[in-house]
Symmetry: C2
Subunit: 354 residues, 2 copies
């Protein structure tokens, strides 16, 4: 394992061979089961990777905010789902502009206020805006609370001249595949009774990615983390360390006392996300070392000094707990292949929160 002396630490290095494998493997699974794959770009935020996902067979991409979609449209992506309630004249004007640049733009809505705003913004548009109704199937975040509520909003969308109802969207709780299926089934029956077509049923989430085929009503699956993977997915048994494409390269800057070393990566790179885990990352090659606490620019490693010989100046690599949020900390990342640095690319959609 090279330690890239030409790179200043801390930084993120991404193994392109691993990225290729991760993208290919899940596209093959979706192809096998006839599920459309719509990767969420929140994990990488990099146009090149979005284009690669499309080239391998993705039906389109998913973004969370208009700002992310704008960056991806700039890069030539033409089919985008924004899985977010969009509100307010300023954002709706941006959305309208964005629609004109794409072959397909879809958004979601889970309440009447959002639908009214979308309808006003797209009244008189050349093409109606495609809308999915977001359903809470147990995730407890956004989404209508019942299939009946979903049908009521589907009718409202269907009645709005500038909008077209395309179906249902959910971000389920982990392990929630059966609940998704039950919710979709009842809501689809309600739409059918109302004479409304519901061609798209979109679910997602990397933790249950290999169970997607167990919800046959799901036509499309959205996942982000699978491109890089991370420690939280290792802990769930979804991947191994060798499947984790993004690693944080850092340096030991102090060994103040036996069994404690300080690295130059803190919460400004690794973030404070625990995702239910203990510690802030997995030290590659040292599974017994704990990344036990972080401040902004320091990480504290604790370990048995009898077995771990860390010294000042040594470089190590860390697989972060939650890789999506790490991408959002960095202006650029370094792409490698076969242990050799290929190029450095900007994280173009980093920080696009509006």
């Amino acid at each position: 394992m090279t330690d890239f002396p030409d790179l200043d630490t801390p930084c993120a290095v991404i193994d392109l061979d691993c990225v290729d494998r991760n993208i290919r493997k899940y596209q093959d699974y979706c192809d096998l089961h006839g599920i459309g794959l719509r990767p969420h770009i929140k994990t990488h935020k990099i146009p090149d990777f979005a284009r690669q996902q499309m080239a391998v067979g993705a039906t389109g991409i998913t973004c969370q905010k208009i700002g992310e979609a704008e960056v991806m449209a700039d890069a030539g992506i033409r089919d985008i789902l924004i899985t977010y309630n969009i509100l307010g004249v300023r954002k709706l004007a941006r959305l309208r502009k964005l629609a004109d640049r794409l072959t397909r733009l879809q958004v979601v809505a889970d309440n009447e206020t959002v639908i009214s705003g979308l309808a006003n913004a797209f009244a008189g548009a050349d093409r109606p805006l495609e809308v999915l109704v977001e359903c809470d199937t147990g995730g407890g975040r956004c989404g209508v609370q019942s299939p009946d509520d979903a049908v009521a909003l589907a009718k409202m969308v269907d009645a709005a001249p500038g909008l077209i109802f395309m179906g249902l969207m959910t971000y389920p709780a982990a392990g929630g595949t059966q609940k998704v299926e039950a919710f979709f089934e009842t809501a689809m029956a309600g739409c059918r009774d109302a004479g409304i077509e519901c061609p798209v049923r979109s679910s997602g989430g990397t933790p249950d990615m290999w169970q997607a085929h167990l919800s046959p009503l799901t036509t499309e699956y959205r996942i982000g983390t699978y491109i890089y993977n991370d420690r939280s997915l290792m802990a769930r048994g979804v991947c191994g360390a060798e499947d984790c494409a993004l690693q944080v390269l850092c340096e030991i800057v102090s060994v103040p006392t036996a069994g404690r070393a300080i690295i130059d990566a803190g919460s400004k790179v690794l973030t404070s996300d625990l995702l239910g885990l203990s510690g802030y990352g997995y030290v590659v090659g040292h599974p017994d070392v704990a990344v036990s606490s972080l401040s902004e620019e320091h990480g504290i490693l604790t370990y048995d000094p009898a077995t771990v010989p860390f010294v000042v100046g040594q470089r190590i690599r860390i697989i972060p707990n939650h890789v999506c949020v790490v991408s959002n900390m960095l202006d650029e990342v370094h792409l490698t292949r076969g242990g050799v640095l290929e190029r450095t690319v900007p994280v173009a959609a980093r920080g696009r929160v509006t």
Copy 2:
């Protein structure tokens, strides 16, 4: 309280009147007690605020990484302390270049490897590099473990032609003022016995900012958070909500069920930092509302629906748990005075982790 309809949410709005008060008040305290104030720019990362801190009487600024110091040097700041062990030929070359642009550059070191590297890099420099020895007075992060170790490193610095020993630096644990004083006293005696002057004794930390004068050996105090303040300092009784200059303006995008609302600010703005608190922020005007969980782009508010009438589209403001890390999430912030937007400025030193 205006809700700034011309700004897209989520975003950070900063009350300049409050900033002025916060800067002035602590400078007055330091002036009264004869303590040098060296503000840490990590909280704001904005050159204008660093210049304001200098203009009011700061002796210099503190940065954590070379990249931050480079941004501040670009902005005309000429006296900088980098409180970080700096290692490696690439970073040492940057440090040498930086020194040539400043009237004073100080760094810290807590081990022999770092001192050797600094000595090599500054051998033959026109001016020697000023070095403080970092002391662990209970913080448990970097720093030599005993006053004797501090004296040993002081001797090593003193013997290096390119370096000049300037004193001691510590980042104490909260409530650690007495330990700081005891550590400094013993280390200073050791230096005196070795015939080495120790003119600078630098301590810091916003939580104990009003106890700085209780360590009379401390010549200089470093604080960052005091310029904005945050919920963690409110919880410690250091400030009130009215002293918190940076607030996150966000919008309610969904009220899926009674007592739960979803805002458009998640961990990509507020971060997952808890700092020992429960919940992820203080909702201004609604002390009983909990920011109970965050995902990347969503925040979940929970509350008693009988008393809180949140509706979709409503704007609210949140005082974050830890304001320094929020600054690091945002490419720009909005400056206001008297409730009126004055201008939008880039967070110039955001993301400078190397």
